[in-house]
Symmetry: C2
Subunit: 207 residues, 2 copies
């Protein structure tokens, strides 16, 4: 009987990190996981921006939203996922309009990184709560390079190291939409349009 991949099933966006640096061989595998991600037309337009120098780390942490700054500063590995938007060859609809693929490609690449991290017992927590112009200034990015997430990563730490309001969230059960809402068969239904909040508020059972 096949199972859900542990690298997907066991991923949690935890916030408590051990201060030990991630082993170089494992960091290299996170890079490789991103490099093998598919991209439309094989554009390979995703890049990883690693904050290593203390001044870079401080500036990147300062660019995060306040809610992320406290816990993410303890992560030994901070990586922004960047996209060179001009490297994409966007698909066209029949009316000539284009569909941008860079954000989608960035998502697949980031998912690969998260799966590889999870497989190695590394917490990798993607954050979208930051000021993008500030992050772009930190790494001196040209205008065509965009950043949608910054990933805080490291070996798991003790939940006790976190402020009390975050502690309980480390291993909170993950409520997920049931297949009836997630999947449409042949035709969109009103059920598919249910928001996660609506589902949760009507007491949707965890799967």
């Amino acid at each position: 009987m096949p199972e859900l991949l542990p690298a997907l099933a066991d991923r949690r966006a935890r916030r408590a990190f051990d201060p030990r640096p991630v082993a170089p061989a494992e960091v290299e595998l996170l890079y490789r996981a991103v490099s093998v991600a598919p991209s439309h037309g094989n554009s390979q337009a995703t890049r990883l921006l690693v904050a290593e120098a203390p001044a870079t780390r401080d500036a990147l942490i300062a660019a995060l939203n306040e809610g992320n700054r406290g816990w993410a500063a303890a992560a030994p590995l901070l990586v922004a996922v960047a996209s060179i938007t001009t490297h994409e060859s966007n698909p066209r609809n029949r009316d000539g309009s284009e569909r941008e693929m860079w954000a989608f490609n960035s998502g697949i690449a980031t998912g690969n990184l998260l799966a590889q991290a999870t497989e190695m017992g590394i917490v990798a927590h993607p954050m979208a709560g930051f000021d993008e112009p500030a992050v772009r200034a930190v790494f001196e990015l040209p205008t065509e390079v965009r950043v949608l997430v910054v990933v805080a990563a490291g070996y798991p730490g003790a939940a006790e190291s976190l402020p009390e309001d975050l502690r309980g969230r480390e291993d909170a059960p993950q409520l997920r939409l049931p297949v009836e809402i997630l999947v449409a068969h042949d035709r969109w239904t009103a059920e598919n349009a249910t928001t996660f909040r609506e589902y949760r508020e009507r007491g949707g059972a965890s799967r």
Copy 2:
């Protein structure tokens, strides 16, 4: 010594399918892989649109670009990955501008599906070459629902079943950008801006 996850390393966008339908328990695991994907603010705004009825399949195949129509029609499982753009709570920059996350979230979810498929020995080939208005008409999607990829999936078939021009691409080696181009340390460099085409044309060695 840790290794790159086979579910990531062994993924190939193959085009030859066995006609056998994918086992229901495995289809269910593809759904679950998508359901556990992270999303900003846990929006869970990604949906899967499965073409099951012959008329739906035919209409979806007709919406694909000509280059995809031939081989993809043989895939027993055709799934469009959709995003309810209005379900997202987009992060804000300090100047008040918003960053849209739906395409990124769709990418992570699709990557999870591809990894789970690969793990189970299922070929899952994401296509961006299609007419989005036509795909949206097939599933009767409301205007706020967008589709960036359609995935053709099934057990692997014989390359001989493909037209000659596609046959050789089934197991062609995957050339990937080296880490020197993929990763920036503290600061963006001209090397990071290399396009994949430039890298290939200067004879970049496969890793």
